[in-house]
Amino acid sequence: MIDFEYAAPTQLDEAIRLLAAAGDGTRILAGGTDIIVQLREGLRSADLVVDIKKISELTQLKLSGDKGLHLGASVSCRRIYDDQNIAASYPGLADAVRIIGGWQIQSRASVGGNLCNSSPAADAIPPLIAYSATAHIAGPGGKRMVPVEEFCTAPGHNILQQGELLVALTLPPQPSNAGSAYQRFIPRNEMDIAVAGAASWVQLDQSGERIEQARIALSAVAPTPVFAVDASEWLKGQVVSEEVFAEAGELAKRVASPIDDMRGTAEYRTHLVGVLTKRTLATACQRARK
C-alpha cells in the first residue's frame, strides 16, 4: 500500500464534484471492509480515497408502510438487523447481512458497498434482486435509477460511471403474504465466501397454497449475481410443494455458468443452485404464511 489522498465530504454535491474531478485512481470508502483489504493486498490502488460516511443522505435508514425500505448506501449491515421491524419485513435481506463477516465487520460493512464492490459472490445482492430493489445513483449529470439486477456487469465492475456514486437502495413495501430467504453454501459454518448462494422471494395467494409471484436470484455461479428469470416466471401459479421447489431449482440451474476454482467445481456449484433454490423457496413460503 502506498500513500494516497483522503477526503471526507459532508455534502453529496461536494462528493460528486470530487469524484468527477479526480482520475481513475479514485476509490470510494464506505465501511472499508473491501477497499482497505484490496489496497493493502495490492489488488487495487488509489490516489484518492473519498469517505462517504459523513454524507447524511447516505446514512439514512427508513422503513415506511407505503414506500418500503430506504437504505442509504453507507448504512451498516448491523443497523439493518438491529431494527426488528426491518428484519421482520425483509427477512431475506436480514439473512444476508447477518452472515457477512462477523459482527465487527457487520458494524462497518454496508449493503451499498457490497453492491458497488460487485463481487459475483456478494451475499447482499441476491436478496436485493429478489426484492426488486432499485439503485439510486447520483453523478455530475444528475440522478438516475437502475434495477439492482442490471447494476453489476462483471466481477468487480458495475454501471457506475466516472464521478457517479450510489446514494441509496429502495426496496418495495412488503405485503403480509410475501416471504423471502437467502442461503449460501460454505464448507465451514462461518468466515467464508459463498460457493453458491440463492435468494428466493415469494408472494402467496390468500390460501397460502399457491404462489402468485416469485423472484429467485443467485450468487457465485456467474460473473455477476443473476436473476433467475425462467424459474421465477415458472413459479407463478404453482401450488406450494417440495416438488415445485425442486423443479424451480432445476430451472434456476440453467442460468448458472460457474467456474472451477478453489471454492468448488462448476458441476458442484450448479448442483448447489438446485439445493439452495429449493431450500430458500421452502423457507420463503413458510415465512409468507406467518
Binding site: 453454501f185 464448507p187 465451514r188 459454518n189 462461518e190 468466515m191 465466501i193 460457493v195 458442484y268 439445493v275
Partner: protein, 760 residues
C-alpha cells in the same frame, strides 16, 4: 464437556502439585496483551525488510538487478544469495528432523534456480515496510521458466522435470546411475511378509492420497536482526528453539555460535513449522549491510507459499488377518512430497505406519520425493497423520469384513509392551490397550448414535515423542521462592508444567516458582520445543535441579543446626535435623543470612521415545445433498503417562484434534495448473473455526512412563493423528462410501455419494 481420568490407570494421588490446575505463570501477560511478541519490538533506528519472491513454480534465474530499488530514497540495502557464504553439504539434527545446510541456504535465498512459487530470490531493507515492499517490486529478476512437477507420483516418473541435476537416490539397493527426484528410499522389513499374507483369510489393499497442509499458526514468521559493529549478531525471533536457530545461523553465515545471541520472544504457535530458519539470515545480512537493526515480518500469503507446510502423500497399504481377527501381515508403499529440497517427513511416516499393531510380518517402502512446492517441514507428529489415515481405514474395513467390532479388532492386535515395531524398536510399557478400553467404557461409546445420515468412527494414532537435550538453572531467592531459568520456548504452557515438577520435587507451591525463558547466552543448550519433549525432558532437568537444590539446602540446614548433613531429613518440603524443623521457605530465608547462594542445575539428554498413543471416537452427520460433514460428538482418549497440569493436557488433546479435523475435512493447498497456490489466505485455506467444532471431550489415561520420575510421556503431538481416519470411518457408516483421499471436503463427499447412487 466431560473430562475424566480413566480410573484404572490413575497413579496414586500422593502428589501435592502435579495433577492440580494452577493459573499459568504467564497468564496476566497473555490476557492483558502485555506479552512481548517479536513484532511488538521497536529497536532504535530499526528498518524493515521485504522479500522478492519467484512468480514461477520452477525457473532458472538469469539475472537480478537491484539498482533501481537501491536508488529509491529510504532504501538502505539489498540482498541476494550472493551475500550468503558458499553453502556446504553438512547434515545436522535439529531435534525434529535433519537439515542439509546447502539446501537450507538455497531455500533461504534461491541460488541459480527458483524451485517453487514464492521461493525467496532477493530482499531489501528500507525505512518503512511499505517502502520496502515497493522497493522489492523494483528489483528486476529475469527468469527462464522451466516445466514444473507438482504431484508426488508424477515427480517420481523417469521423464519428470528434475529439480536438482545432481540428486541421486539414497537407497539400500544399488546406487542408481541417473539423477531423479527421488531423494531417498527407506525400507523396513520384519518377518516374512509372503508367509504372513498366505496365512490370512482376508487381505485388503487400498490406495490413499492426502493434500499438502499447513500448520496454520496465527503468528507469521517474524524476526529482528542486529548485526553490531563488534561483529556480534543478535536476533529476536519467534521460534520453537532458540539454540537451533543459533546453530543454523552459525552454519549459514559461517560464524562461531558464540558470536550469535538468539532472544526468543513469545510465540504465536509453531507446530513444527518454526524450527527451520527463513527470514532470520536475510534480516541479519541486511542488518550487516546497512548497519541498522532490520525487522522482517512475513505476510500470510508468504507464510503459506514459502515456509514449511507438511507434505502431500500417495500411499498403498495392504493388511491381512485371520477369520478370528488376528493380523498376519502388512505391506506399505509410501511416497511423500519433500517439497523443493530433500528431507521431508517420510522417515517418521514409514516408522509409524504399523506402529499401533502387533504385526508378525511386514514390509515398508518409503520414498522422499522432491517437487516444485515449498520445502516441507514437521507438523505435529510429522508423517504419522498421513499413514494413520491409510492404516486405520484399512483396519476398519478388515474389522467390518470380519464382522468384528472395530474396537475389539484393534484390542486383539494392539501394540503393547514387548511388541517390536517394523522399524526395529521394542516397546516398553505403553498405553494403547488402556486407551481403547477407556473408550469402550466412555459415555460416548455407550450412547447409541441414532438418526439418518449419521455414523460413528474409531481410529488409533501413535507418536514416538523424543527426549533430547535440556538445561535449566534454578536460583533460590531470599524469600524462599525459586527462579527457574530455562531455554525451552513456551508454546503450550510449559513454563508452568516444568515449574510444577520443580515445585513437586522441592515441596513448594507452583506459585513459588518463577519460570523464565531466556536467551541463548543465559542458559545451557536446550533443544527445540518439539517432539512433545518439553514437559518430559525439560521437566526432567527441573527435577534434577530441584534435587541439586535439595542437597544444598540439606548442607545449609546442617550448618545452621550444627549437625551432620546425614542427620537432616526431607519430607514434603520440610527439613528436620538435630531436633529442629523448618519448611523449605523458612530454611531458604535462614540460609540466605548465613550461607552461599543456592543454585540448582539440571542438564539432561534422554535418548528414549516416550511412546504416546491416542484413540478417537467421532460421530458425524453428512448432508447428502451438499456433502457437508458436521461433527456431532468427538472424544479423544490419550495416554499422557502422567498429566502434570491436566488443563494443558486437555488443551493439547483438543487443539490437536481440531487440527486433525481441519486436515480431514477442508484443509488443502489448492494449486492451479501453473503451480500457484490459489488459496494462500485464511479465507480460502479453511481451518476449522469454533463454529465448526463441537466441544471436544477428553479422557486422559495415565500409564506411567518408566523413564520419568513422575511418569510423564509428553502429549502435544499424537492427538492430531487419529482424527482423519476416525472421521473417514464415521462418514463411511453415515453414507456407505469409503474415502481414500484427504480432504473429505463437501464437493468430494457429494461426488462420492452421487457416484454411489448413480452406480458410477
Amino acid at each position: 464437556m466431560s473430562t475424566e481420568v480413566a480410573p484404572d490407570t490413575q497413579t496414586p494421588a500422593t502428589y501435592k502439585v502435579i495433577g492440580t490446575r494452577p493459573v499459568r505463570h504467564d497468564s496476566a501477560d497473555k490476557v492483558t496483551g502485555k506479552a512481548v511478541y517479536t513484532d511488538d519490538l521497536h529497536v532504535p533506528n530499526m528498518v524493515f525488510g521485504a522479500f522478492v519472491r519467484s512468480p514461477h513454480a520452477h525457473a532458472r534465474i538469469v539475472s537480478i538487478d537491484t539498482s533501481d530499488a537501491e536508488k529509491m530514497p529510504g532504501v538502505l540495502a539489498t540482498c541476494t544469495s550472493a551475500d550468503l557464504p558458499d553453502p556446504w553439504d553438512k547434515v545436522d539434527n535439529l531435534g525434529e528432523g535433519c537439515v542439509n545446510y546447502a539446501h537450507l541456504s538455497g531455500n533461504v535465498l534461491a541460488r541459480n534456480k527458483a524451485l517453487y512459487k514464492g521461493h525467496a530470490v532477493a530482499a531489501v531493507a528500507a525505512t518503512d515496510s511499505y517502502l520496502a515492499q515497493e522497493a522489492a517490486r523494483r528489483i528486476r529478476v529475469e527468469y527462464e521458466p522451466l516445466p514444473a512437477t507438482m504431484c508426488v507420483q508424477d515427480a517420481m516418473r523417469n521423464d519428470a522435470p528434475l529439480l536438482h541435476d545432481e540428486l541421486i537416490t539414497h537407497t539400500l539397493d544399488d546406487k542408481p546411475a541417473r539423477p531423479s527426484n527421488i531423494a531417498s528410499h527407506i525400507q523396513f522389513e520384519k518377518g516374512n511378509v509372503d508367509e504372513g499374507f498366505a496365512a490370512a483369510d482376508v487381505v485388503i489393499e487400498r490406495e490413499f492420497k492426502t493434500a499438502t497442509v499447513h500448520q496454520g499458526y496465527i503468528e507469521p514468521h517474524v524476526s529482528v536482526a542486529l548485526w553490531n559493529e563488534d561483529g556480534r549478531l543478535k536476533i529476536w525471533t519467534a521460534t520453537q528453539g532458540s539454540f537451533v536457530v543459533r546453530q543454523q545461523m552459525a552454519e549459514l553465515l559461517k560464524m562461531p555460535v558464540s558470536q550469535i545471541t538468539i532472544v526468543p520472544c513469545e510465540i504465536g504457535g509453531g507446530f513444527g513449522g518454526k524450527i527451520s530458519v527463513y527470514e532470520q539470515p536475510v534480516a541479519a545480512v541486511l542488518s550487516r549491510k546497512c548497519g541498522r537493526p532490520v525487522k522482517i515480518m512475513m505476510q500470510r500469503d508468504e507464510v503459506f507459499e514459502a515456509t514449511g507446510p507438511t507434505p502431500a502423500s500417495f500411499m498403498r497399504v495392504k493388511l491381512g488377518a485371520t477369520k478370528d481377527g488376528k493380523l498376519t501381515a502388512g505391506k506399505a508403499w509410501l511416497a511423500f512430497d519433500a517439497g523443493a529440497f530433500p528431507g521431508g517427513v517420510i522417515g517418521p511416516g514409514a516408522m509409524c505406519v504399523f506402529s499401533c499393531y502387533d504385526l508378525p510380518h511386514a514390509t515398508v517402502d518409503g520414498f522422499d520425493v522432491v517437487l516444485n512446492k515449498p520445502k516441507t517441514q514437521a507438523y505435529r507428529a510429522p508423517g504419522s497423520t498421513h499413514v494413520a489415515f491409510a492404516t486405520e481405514c484399512v483396519i476398519d474395513e478388515l474389522a467390518e469384513r470380519l464382522k468384528i467390532d472395530p474396537i475389539e479388532f484393534r484390542l486383539n492386535n494392539a501394540a503393547k509392551e514387548g511388541t517390536r515395531r517394523v522399524d526395529g524398536p521394542v516397546y516398553p510399557r505403553v498405553g494403547l490397550v488402556e486407551c481403547l478400553q477407556a473408550i469402550q467404557e466412555s459415555d460416548h461409546w455407550k450412547t447409541p448414535l441414532t438418526g439418518p445420515n449419521r455414523g460413528r468412527g474409531v481410529a488409533c494414532g501413535f507418536w514416538f515423542n523424543c527426549g533430547l537435550k535440556s538445561s535449566v538453572t534454578a536460583n533460590v531467592n531470599a524469600d524462599g521462592t525459586v527462579t527457574l531459568v530455562e531455554g525451552s520456548t513456551d508454546i503450550g504452557g510449559t513454563r508452568t508444567s516444568i515449574a510444577m515438577q520443580l515445585a513437586e520435587t522441592l515441596g513448594i507451591t507452583a506459585e513459588d516458582v518463577i519460570p523464565q525463558v531466556v536467551d541463548t547466552d543465559s542458559v545451557g543448550f536446550t533443544d527445540v520445543t518439539g517432539g512433545s519433549r518439553t514437559t518430559f525432558a525439560t521437566g526432567l532437568a527441573a527435577h534434577e535441579a530441584a534435587l541439586d537444590i535439595q542437597k544444598q539446602m540439606v548442607e545449609q540446614a546442617a550448618q545452621i543446626w550444627e549437625c551432620s548433613p546425614d542427620e537432616v531429613t526431607v519430607a514434603d518440603g520440610v527439613y528436620q535435623g538435630n531436633g529442629k524443623s523448618l519448611s523449605f521457605k523458612a530454611l531458604a530465608v535462614e540460609a540466605d543470612k548465613v550461607g552461599i547462594p543456592i543454585v540448582g542445575r539440571g542438564v539432561v539428554d534422554p535418548q528414549c521415545s516416550t511412546n504416546a498413543f491416542a484413540v478417537n471416537l467421532v460421530d458425524v452427520e453428512v448432508d447428502p445433498e451438499t456433502g457437508k460433514v458436521t461433527i456431532l460428538r468427538f472424544t479423544v482418549c490419550q495416554d499422557a503417562g502422567k498429566a502434570i497440569h491436566p488443563s494443558y493436557v486437555e488443551g493439547q488433546m483438543q487443539g490437536g484434534s481440531a487440527q486433525g479435523i481441519g486436515w480431514a475435512l477442508n484443509e488443502e493447498y489448492f494449486y492451479g495448473d501453473d503451480g500457484h497456490m490459489r488459496n494462500a489466505s485464511f479465507l480460502d485455506y479453511r481451518m476449522p473455526t469454533c463454529y465448526d467444532l463441537p466441544m471436544i471431550d477428553t479422557i486422559i489415561v495415565e500409564v506411567a512412563n518408566p523413564d520419568h520420575p513422575y511418569g510423564v510421556r509428553g502429549v502435544g503431538e499424537v492427538p492430531i493423528v487419529p482424527p482423519p481416519p476416525a472421521i473417514a470411518n464415521a462418514i463411511y457408516r453415515a453414507t456407505g462410501v469409503r474415502f481414500f483421499e484427504l480432504p473429505m471436503s463437501p464437493p468430494t463427499v457429494w461426488n462420492a455419494i452421487k457416484g454411489q447412487t448413480t452406480g458410477e
